[in-house]
């Protein structure tokens, strides 16, 4: 193992160190901010390094403590993992900068520590090659998210917070049952080892295997807020601070990532009764999710609620190509995933910048008197809406076109086409309605002028950076789609993972 290989553990170790360090700086917010931002930049550098390492197309394993593969815990580095890492680190840096600029980190204790523990959970979930470790990193991520979600406190946040925590605890219990079933059947929880052993199971065990697979997918669907299991999301995201919701934009996609990671590898064509286990259920759920999400965008009464429904809608749209489980559709889905995370976060940050200027009107979609910075906020909101709905020139459009293009080769294409085109129209109407209410309609006469504090324009920077990234994703679509295609090709060849992970340890 060379020094370069040691870089693999950096995305997990760095946030752990940064989080512990910021814990010690409880009363020195400026120092904590500097350390926290420094940690984020270091992580970003590590992610770029890992991304470059994965360009050679090889799959790397990292045996913790040098215990050989199926026995010890193993990290797994491939194109999919490095893409997700890079996306997380970019998002985290922008969101953290925004939190520091707006002073959101001052509204409660331990913001930076929680933020970095959350990143540690996210990075770990993307890197791990072991199902039980995936559970542990999910928990790290969730525990930090409980703290972040309640950051700033308030009654409505507490109310939504309890529901969020309880839903996730039940989800974790299901996760453990699924893991227990898989372990009881195969005697391993290493993903690559599972791939081998699941394929070798006898006919007597197929029923249990299918149950285990479906339970696992249910848990991932719950974390991803897939349609019938989505009810926790709008309430939670609408109650928390927008800057934290912006970071949470990637949390639902972790559930989708976990599906993309486990299904082709463990529940692929050779898995008997559990082959492509979410098969017939995922597409209808995804369609339902996209429709419900965009209907929610249309019906929302507050900007945060609307952005939350937009996140829901993007997960639904994303899962449509995922549910087809082909190389081309996965490639399109990955492109859509990257832009959907950035678009969701951008929307939440724009909502934050708007809310901060509207005083007591906050994020309610009602006409208000003119407020300072209304035109700039309106323009940004327009761009955020374009990004979330998927209209040109931002990357959502390219993502949707890619999905339409690849799904045309599949038998069920009319349902996907109808849903995507129909929901896009719904989304356009929704954002147009709320945008014109907020920024164009004059308040009824007699209402007092907004007495928001005068803000500098600094809090417009972070959303603009995210929007610029989305524009870049459009311009560089050729390179990005080549990347996602390579990642999808890797995912759909599970034998190479088995060889790389189990072969290395022997």
């Amino acid at each position: 193992m060379t020094a370069a290989d040691q870089l693999m553990i950096a995305p997990i170790v760095l946030p752990a160190i940064t989080a512990s360090a910021t814990l010690l700086m409880r009363r020195r917010l400026r120092t904590a901010r500097a350390v926290s931002l420094g940690g984020c930049v270091a992580m970003l550098a590590a992610a770029i390094g890992l991304f470059a390492m994965a360009q050679d197309g090889s799959i790397r394993g990292y045996a913790l403590g040098a215990w050989p593969a199926p026995f010890g815990i193993v990290l797994m580095l491939d194109r999919l993992a490095t893409t997700m890492l890079l996306l997380t680190e970019v998002l985290a840096s922008v969101v953290l900068a925004h939190a520091a600029v707006t002073g959101a980190d001052r509204r409660g204790w331990h913001f930076h520590a929680l933020f970095h523990f959350q990143l540690m959970g996210l990075n770990g979930a993307f890197l791990t090659g072991d199902l039980f470790n995936l559970f542990v990193f999910f928990e790290v991520m969730l525990i930090a998210s409980y703290g972040l979600m309640l950051h700033g406190q308030g009654a409505s946040r507490l109310r939504a917070g309890l529901a969020y925590v309880v839903v996730n605890i039940v989800g974790s219990a299901l996760f453990l049952i699924a893991l227990g079933l898989l372990y009881g059947l195969t005697g391993t929880l290493n993903m690559a080892d599972l791939a081998v052993r699941v394929a070798a199971l006898g006919p007597a065990e197929q029923g249990l295997l299918r149950v285990a697979g479906l339970l696992l997918m249910t848990v991932f669907a719950l974390k991803a807020a897939v349609a019938p299991l989505h009810l926790w999301l709008p309430r939670t995201y609408a109650a928390t601070m927008p800057v934290i919701a912006a970071l949470f934009a990637i949390m639902t996609k972790v559930g989708v990532y976990a599906m993309i990671r486990t299904v082709p590898l463990i529940f692929g064509a050779g898995a008997g009764a559990a082959a492509w286990v979410p098969g017939p259920y995922l597409l209808p759920a995804a369609i339902l999710g996209a429709v419900l999400g965009f209907v929610g965008v249309l019906a929302a009464r507050g900007l945060r609620e609307q952005a939350a429904f937009a996140v829901l809608a993007s997960t639904g749209t994303l899962l449509m190509p995922v549910s087809l489980w082909r190389e081309a559709t996965l490639a399109a889905a990955l492109y859509y995933l990257v832009q959907a995370v950035l678009a969701g976060a951008a929307l939440f940050l724009i909502v934050d910048a708007t809310m901060r200027r509207r005083g007591s009107y906050a994020d309610a979609i009602v006409p208000s008197p003119r407020f300072v910075g209304q035109d700039a906020a309106g323009l940004l909101y327009l761009a955020g809406g374009l990004a979330a709905v998927g209209l040109p020139p931002l990357a959502g459009f390219v993502g949707k076109v890619l999905i339409l293009d690849v799904s045309y080769a599949v038998a069920g294409w009319p349902s996907i086409w109808t849903t995507i085109l129909g929901t896009t129209l719904l989304g356009v109407i929704g954002f147009a309605r709320s945008g014109s209410t907020l920024f164009w309609k004059a308040a009824p006469s007699g209402t007092a002028a907004v007495e928001g504090p005068r803000r500098s324009l600094a809090d417009f920077v972070a959303p603009i950076v995210l929007l610029a990234l989305l524009a870049w994703l459009t311009l560089a679509a050729g390179w990005v789609t080549a990347q996602t295609r390579a990642a999808a090709a890797q995912i759909m060849a599970p034998d190479r993972y088995v060889a790389a992970i189990l072969g290395a340890g022997r």
Binding site: F132, V136, E139, I143, Y146, L150, A155, L158, R159, G161, L162, A163, V165, V166, I169, V170, S172, A173, L176, I177, L179, G180, L181, Y183, G184, G187
Partner: protein, 115 residues
């Protein structure tokens, strides 16, 4: 066989009782329900290593048959996490009760005598 049946029905009863309580409207019952569910899950994880008696989980001189040590390690992790989670829900419920003045799960005001 009887041991398996006993453990399986214990897990089933725990899950059923836990889910029933977790679906109730007040936070105290909810916390109890979640605790019962997590006990059931821990028992289940423990049982995935197969139920055997009088076998050490670690290497011992002269012993050829071992109990599977891995589920025991998994259960330990799961216990720690679920314990922390229970503590968090208790604190959250308390804070909710103190701030909202109601122990209803959805945080609504007291709906009279019912629930």
């Amino acid at each position: 066989m009887s041991l398996e049946l006993l453990v399986a029905s214990a897990i089933a009863v725990l899950v059923a009782a836990g889910l029933y309580l977790a679906l109730r409207g007040r936070t105290f019952q909810l916390v109890l329900g979640l605790t019962l569910v997590s006990y059931a899950v821990n028992l289940f994880l423990f049982a995935t290593g197969r139920l055997v008696v009088e076998r050490p989980p670690l290497w011992a001189k002269g012993v050829t048959d071992h109990a599977d040590p891995l589920p025991q390690a998994l259960v330990l992790t799961a216990i720690v996490i679920s314990f922390a989670m229970t503590a968090l829900t208790v604190i959250l419920s308390l804070r909710g009760f103190l701030e909202i003045g109601s122990d209803q799960v959805d945080g609504l005001a007291e709906p009279g005598e019912g629930a």
